[in-house]
Symmetry: C2
Subunit: 339 residues, 2 copies
Amino acid sequence: MTVSITDVARAAGVSASTVSRALRGRPGVSDEVRAQITAVATQLGYTASRSASSLASGRTFTIGVVVPYVGRWFFGTVLDAAEHVFSAAGYDVLLYNLGSPETRKRFFTRLPLRKRVDAVLSLLIPDEEESAALRSLGVPLASTVGGARPGFSVVGIDDRAGAEHAVRHLVNLGHRRIGMISGSSGEQHWTTPVARRQAYLDVLSDAGIAHDPALEADGDYTVEGGERAMTELLAATRPPTAVFAQSDEMAMGALRALRRHRLRVPDDVSVVGFDDHELSDVLGLTTVAQPVAGQGAEAARLLLRQLDEPDGERAGHVQMPIRLVLRETTAPPSPRGPQ
Amino acid sequence: MTVSITDVARAAGVSASTVSRALRGRPGVSDEVRAQITAVATQLGYTASRSASSLASGRTFTIGVVVPYVGRWFFGTVLDAAEHVFSAAGYDVLLYNLGSPETRKRFFTRLPLRKRVDAVLSLLIPDEEESAALRSLGVPLASTVGGARPGFSVVGIDDRAGAEHAVRHLVNLGHRRIGMISGSSGEQHWTTPVARRQAYLDVLSDAGIAHDPALEADGDYTVEGGERAMTELLAATRPPTAVFAQSDEMAMGALRALRRHRLRVPDDVSVVGFDDHELSDVLGLTTVAQPVAGQGAEAARLLLRQLDEPDGERAGHVQMPIRLVLRETTAPPSPRGPQ
DNA sequence: CTGTTAGCGCGTTCAC
DNA sequence: GTGAACGCGCTAACAG
């Protein structure tokens, strides 16, 4: 049925170990024998069983990747880039999509990764307990979200600086009533919204603008949430003339809400997002760009490096560059204000 | 170091085989012994090695999923839904992202899936040779794209009917010069663009509208491609008053091109897309909606069913429903035409 | 340079 | 109901 190493060995007139050595490019095999074995193997369509070889060697040549929502642009893009790096290095990717709390819980208690992967890349922020579970796997760990964590190599951006760019841009345009759509819900140990909010508060304070809690709303990191949040902000006694959305998807929701309220962007209200989503350009959205694919690729490279040199440093923190991308959703406030 | 089945056996005072039976819920173990073993196992944090168990049993409890671009909304959404179905059934997902021709070629020649998966879900259209390679794995196969193929269960939509809806909508609005942005490049054995184009031609013909080759352009299934294609169409001697884009992403590119040309949508030009991308609503894009996540989930279910009853029918073809979603990018042609 | 001998950790007969 | 023996397909250590 399925051809095994002994089939190849028999056909080539050598022992199984020689076949193993030959096919994996290990030394100790004469060139002619190796060539002959290679020929026989391809002719027979032989591929070593990963189960058997990892059982024997302890190495799986597989990387576990943990994601909250593969369907979302950000995570899909990070995953795409990381997968390319892994597969180019000969590693397979075992994907775990942990959107719901139940699947997430089950994953971390049963830990199906145990004995199955050589390393783990997490695109979600594990809490203390979950981090400990991952560390217990005894393999290199990396993450593309959140702050530095013991045992993890983390690739990220300076959330604070990014948000400062965005809000300062609005201040410089002359806005004084600046709202924010945050994305705090969901993850508990998610430092990103906190850092971006702090930056918002700081820039306002620096500009001598009093903070108005009525100008903050939660957008849940989704388009719909952003729309709801914007609608909320517009219901304030004195609505904002500009809004900083902590993600482009929420900013897009805000744009929709504004259109439904017959408000013009940027004439009546300015909007700035965060991410530089692939469609932000289409919408003309001013935003803070971050290298999303770049972060996935870099995290993958960090893991591969740790796999190559197990004695190297186990963790690190890489900051990727960000930049403000000016497009068409921001402008000075209208002299007569919104409405 | 890592706890094995014999560790559990010793700690529970039984043999390894009893532990194996107990933990997998097989009959032949007294309830009390089973309970005790379960307790010991969880206390020790034992998880059976997948490598060892699949080597012994032949089952891997892993599904291979082959995707062209995980980062694209369509594929990410299909994958997300499929993964949920698989993981709920206790299967892991091995992901292969085959965007570039080289990785694709390498994948199909080396076939790293061999002996590693119990089934394969393909989100790309394999050509004859690639199909044969997948069939040689000897496991159930499914696909969410393209037409019926021997050996595969296919879940899809009626591309022809969908495109007819879209184009007929434009005709009914009174348009006579209707352009099309197709997405033919890339995949060779990709029947989708062909079917959608045929529908376009048929509807025009039915309406007594002569086909003008200058009104067709290739958009490569991307936003940028759509923008280029629209720009091309606008350069025609007599540009279209309406455009059918074979995907929402190309339609979005078209919208951008139109905005750059200072043309109003739908006043000057109407646009209809295909897919109902998550952001189409934000853009107010009229489009043909298809159940993207639904197709992924359904294909996954088909595979699981084949895994459960190996003697059942090996292949099938499921058609999912489509519907035209009317939004704000289509309207009757302006009396004075575009420009 | 090559073949032989042992396991890797589990599932699966068979006995008991 | 339970345990002992064997083998899944491969790699690693040891001979030669």
